[in-house]
Amino acid sequence: MKQLLSIYVFYRPFILWSLGVSFLFSIIGYNLIPIFIIKLVLIVFLWYLLANTSGSKKFIFYKNLGISNLKLFSSIFFIDICLNLPILLIFKEFV
């Protein structure tokens, strides 16, 4: 539970960006699966970006809690899907 809370701390600044991306591609006409594939690519890109810049320092906090980078980013992806899926399903009903 505590690990989940710490992963949420990492994910929190990206929530609005993530919703924005979901709505944007939804309006363009993408289905759910392509949207989630795009998000997976974006998360891998974010991982690459942070790991190869001074942003990698941010990972020490999570590693001190026993969370590896793989666990951190895969958890973010699944949390993101769980959060976005119902919102997108409702959104698609109206658009």
Binding site: K2, F59, I60, N64, L65, G66, S68
Partner: protein
């Protein structure tokens, strides 16, 4: 618990940073690592923690080789030189995540007047450093790596941190590195000097002058 670090060889591109490192740290003792700037002390701590992959390394805990990064075992805490706690987290959440008593912190640093409901970024650099040091020391980790724990901290709190280190070493393996030599010597039981990529066990502090880590006459 005995932690042994052996046979470390680290290169950055073609530059050799560390080779021929052996270091033994055990519960009940504070193991200090000394070395001039750029000697590889911080890199060594990153290797032990599991964040930096050297060409060769051998890490043993109680004679058993540890093949995965140590942080994945959840036995190790690392206080880095830079602030490692995210800026956007509430202070009380940090204490919750590391399972540490806020009251305990308040008792030790009551003059600080920190509100536990505030966001971490509202603290000054020194206050952040204090909270981070306290959190790493008091967490349930059996191995603690402290990279310059006395930097940016007021003298009165340095004494508190030193007392805390001395108190907690009974249950933890503590490895420390710092340039504030006097404070460092006060808490360290075993000393290693990193010079030219090698580690030297220091039996007598006078040797630090021989190895030119200290100026002649520093130790009277």
């Amino acid at each position: 618990m005995i932690l042994e670090i052996d046979n470390i060889e680290l290169y950055f591109k073609n530059k050799r940073i560390l080779n021929g490192i052996y270091l033994k740290a055990e519960t009940g003792k504070v193991t200090g690592i000394l070395g001039v700037n750029g000697s590889g002390k911080t890199s060594l701590l990153y290797i032990v923690f599991g964040c930096l992959q050297p060409k060769y390394k051998l890490i043993r805990i109680d004679n058993k080789p540890i093949l995965k990064p140590l942080y994945l075992t959840n036995k190790i805490g690392f206080l880095t030189q830079h602030h490692f706690i995210p800026r956007n987290i509430k202070i009380k959440s940090v204490f919750l995540l590391f399972n540490i008593s806020w009251e305990d912190f308040n008792k030790k640093f009551n003059a600080l007047n920190i509100n536990k409901h505030s966001i971490f970024s509202t603290l000054s650099g020194g206050e952040r450093r204090l909270v981070e040091t306290f959190v790493i020391l008091k967490s349930n980790k059996k191995i603690v790596l402290l990279d310059e724990p006395f930097s940016h901290i007021a003298p009165v709190y340095i004494e508190t941190i030193k007392r805390l280190i001395t108190e907690l070493k009974k249950d933890k393996v503590i490895i420390i590195t710092d340039h504030l030599y006097r404070h460092f010597m006060d808490v360290s039981d075993d000393l290693y000097l990193i010079k030219d990529g090698h580690s030297e066990f220091i039996k007598n502090t006078k040797e630090l002058e021989d190895y030119k880590y200290l100026s002649l006459g520093t130790i009277s």
